[in-house]
Amino acid sequence: MPIDAKTTLAEIDPAFAWQKWSPADQEPWDEQRVRLLYRRGAFGAGPKEIARGLKEGPEQCIATLLGEESQSTELARQVEVFEKESGAIAAAVRAGGDIDRLAAWWLHRMLHSPQPTLEKMTLFWHGHFATGADKVVDSELMYEQNRWLRQHALGDFRAMVHGISKDAAMLLYLDSATNRKAHPNENYARELMELFCLGEGNYTEKDVQELARCFTGWEIRRKLFRFNEYQHDEGVKTLLGRSEIESGESAIDVVLAQEAMPYFVVGKLVKFFVMDEPQASRQFLEPLVKTFIASDYSIRHVVHQILLSNLMLSLWSVGRKVRSPVEYALEIVRSMEATANLDRLAKMLRPLGQALFYPPNVKGWDGGRAWINSSTLIGRSNFVVDLLGDTNTRFAGGSLENWIRAQGIDSKEAWMEWLTKSLVAVPIPDIERDALQKGMAGRTNANGWTAPLISLSQNPRIHLS
């Protein structure tokens, strides 16, 4: 039974919402659903990926996104080729030490990785364990953290928290690199509970002070984590009602064992993949929390279930998220099989409000409505103008016009139709469709092909996913 688009979240049965979706007569596996999965689970798709996804069916399509064809030698080969290419770019970029170029390296991964969901999840964790290059400064540490996040992005959440707590960039960012016995620094302790694991309201000020004591002596020396036992507070600490805490590591385990933890993490994943608002209740998250606990806190299991769920694929989720700047930019690029100057692309994301490696603060990007304001909206339209106006931008290696013709599109009207279908998630009413068509009538020169996309970039609907 489909979930009607107008149903409120409170009216949806949580068990049904997170059950596996299956195609039916009323709800066929179709292009719209392939596009939805590529918007949410990746960074958009070109015509070839859409065609492949249709052929694959829902389960295989999600397996492809997640890079789960473990038995497939073809995927392994693709990954190998891609990693070689990305590694070569990384080597050149790291030698220069320029963080803007590091962002360009990551954009290349987002655009071309054969495992796109892995990149999407790396972006998720970059916002979750937010660390800003403005304070860390050292691009090598930012690169190492990014690589580490990717390695664990679909793995065990607990291992992730333990690892990030000793990550050099993180500890420098949150000032815990010099955490002394006499005066513990509370910054990391607070954010570990408030932003990484539990959420506000699930601990007290006393817990923050006690946890900070547990982390005394955790230092960064020569870019590496080191435990300085002389600066560790050996006194008795009481954290979240537990009193026998031997080390910083056991303190992290106490935090991770809190009942609030799985709800906090799963809730954030649901917000990231399904809907910006409203916030899901604990009851609504229950089936996913069960999966999370039963799988030993495997992020992959939860993400897989979310993508393949009734809530996602019934299309209830369509239009319930505001595209992030990275999604907006890359979905446009990928839909037209475009290649662009990536250094420039990385810089173009800045006025849109999402510079990679520069989250606004330790809370990361708020997302949802916070992406949208007058400057970022003007910026989103200007982005399209700049992208299309850049002579470095190619479409499957050629000009935009040639690419359009290769798709079998022979009129401006058909081109507008194609753009609308590919880039606009929410149906455009006929009356507005007419206006869009009318706005580009009578254009015959080469620039005429860019006008419909610029026109669309000023239509509010393009900002929804």
Partner: protein, 422 residues
């Protein structure tokens, strides 16, 4: 919500813009006539500029009790010495970085409200900032802010400019949010210029803005979310602000002597908009970086200098323009910092802290007492002035409006006692 689609002919061509987007309401028509109206007509008599110091400003090292033994003991490395402070009354002195504000202080145009905060302080940046913005605790939080609610109460159908403007690249602060109130965020003036101008030359021109009625109801997320309605109103506000700014700023740049810092640039934009005669009543800017957990001294000194230099340059520009009695600058931070410094030569999150007022002539340079270092709350300074008392004073005494609904409570008695304005 009723939605209409407009195609714009002459008006858009006049500004070099092509707009064939659907917009709600009738602003586009109003805009067409607005473009011919001379600038300078709409400026409100009383303007409020809010400066937010994000991260938690160390109030104790801004307004310094430098002779207090307990201060000297609590801050072995971070204390500001008697030889460094800019001393004023009551054994207090300003941080040396406030030098540029001295002339404003001497002219009675700079005032310090001491010990501002609220009961059971929250030491999370985000929660405490939300409390200052919304005037609500988390459990009964509404998704609106005090300035947003103020602006919604004074909507004027004749007013063509946005009632409030946020200058900055960060997301719109919650303080400015309220249903039905559109406050644009301007990262910079340059970033508000639409580049798609070449398009208009190719537009078919019918000479007039013609409206095609459409009453399509959004079917997305009805009931628990209306993201589509939100992006639609935001888009029309953005395009409107872009056109209006282009017009307002088409005059030569006469901006005065602003420092080239981040805050200096933002207050320069605010100054330009005010001088261009925009009808906007509230401007909002932020300066981030005050979360000084480690190696505080140099960072804090530089941030305070940036703040005081920018605010004093702004005040001077307003004075040159004869607007000194019309524009008030209010500075706040989400909390102060712990009295005792930590081991990283920094300070952790604290509670009560001073607020600062600048611009018009104030009856008292110093409002309230400096919080006692004798009586702390879990190592933090205690507040004795509720931040909503200050808001109420600004709303009633400066903006001349009723504060009850805006603040969702009666803070008038506390506000009157403060006597912030003449």
């Amino acid at each position: 919500m009723e939605r209409r689609t407009f195609t714009l002919g002459a008006a858009a061509a006049a500004t070099g813009l092509a707009l064939d987007i659907p917009v709600p309401g009738g602003w586009m028509k109003a805009l067409a006539s607005e473009l011919t109206v001379a600038r300078g007509d709409g400026r409100p008599n009383r303007i409020l500029v809010v400066v937010q110091l994000s991260g938690g400003n160390d109030g104790l090292n801004t307004v310094v009790p430098y002779r207090d033994e307990r201060y000297v003991q609590a801050r072995p490395k971070l204390k500001i010495n008697a030889s460094e402070v800019i001393p004023f009354q009551n054994d207090l002195g300003f941080h040396p970085s406030l030098r540029s504000l001295e002339s404003q202080w001497e002219a009675g145009r700079f005032s310090v409200v001491q010990g501002v905060g609220y009961a059971s302080p929250n030491r999370s940046h985000f929660e405490s900032m939300d409390i200052w913005h919304s005037c609500h605790r988390k459990q009964d939080r509404t998704q609106s802010g005090w300035i947003g609610r103020y602006l919604s109460g004074c909507s004027d159908s004749e007013q063509k400019d946005a009632p409030g403007v946020h200058v900055g690249a960060e997301p719109l602060p919650l303080a400015l949010v309220e249903r039905g109130v559109q406050v644009p965020s301007l990262a910079s003036i340059e970033q508000m210029r639409l580049k798609s101008k070449s398009k208009v030359m190719q537009m078919e021109e019918d000479g007039t803005a013609s409206a095609i009625g459409s009453a399509e109801k959004s079917s997305v997320g009805e009931g628990d979310s209306d993201l589509l309605g939100f992006v639609e109103t935001s888009t029309s506000a953005a395009l409107e602000a872009s056109l209006r700014l282009e017009k307002a700023l088409s005059v030569p740049d006469e901006t005065g002597d602003f420092p080239s810092s981040g805050l200096g640039e933002k207050l320069k934009v605010v100054s330009r908009l005010i001088l261009a005669g925009l009808g906007t009543q509230v401007y909002y800017v932020t300066l981030d970086g005050f979360d000084t957990h480690a190696k505080q001294a140099a960072v804090h000194a530089s941030l305070l200098r940036q703040w005081s230099d920018a605010v004093s340059a702004f005040c001077k520009r307003m004075q040159q323009a004869g607007l000194q009695e019309n524009v008030l600058v209010v500075t706040f931070s989400e909390f102060g910092r712990r009295v005792s410094e930590n081991a990283s030569q920094g300070t952790d999150h604290g509670a009560a802290a001073p607020m600062f007022l600048a611009g018009p002539k104030f009856p008292a340079p110093l409002v309230g007492e400096h919080p006692s270092l004798n009586s702390l709350d879990d190592g933090d300074l205690k507040y004795h002035i509720d931040y909503r008392d200050v808001y109420a004073a600004v709303i009633e005494g400066w903006l001349g409006a009723a504060s009850l609904k805006v603040l969702d409570g009666d803070y008038r008695e506390g506000a009157e006692k403060l006597r912030l304005f003449g």
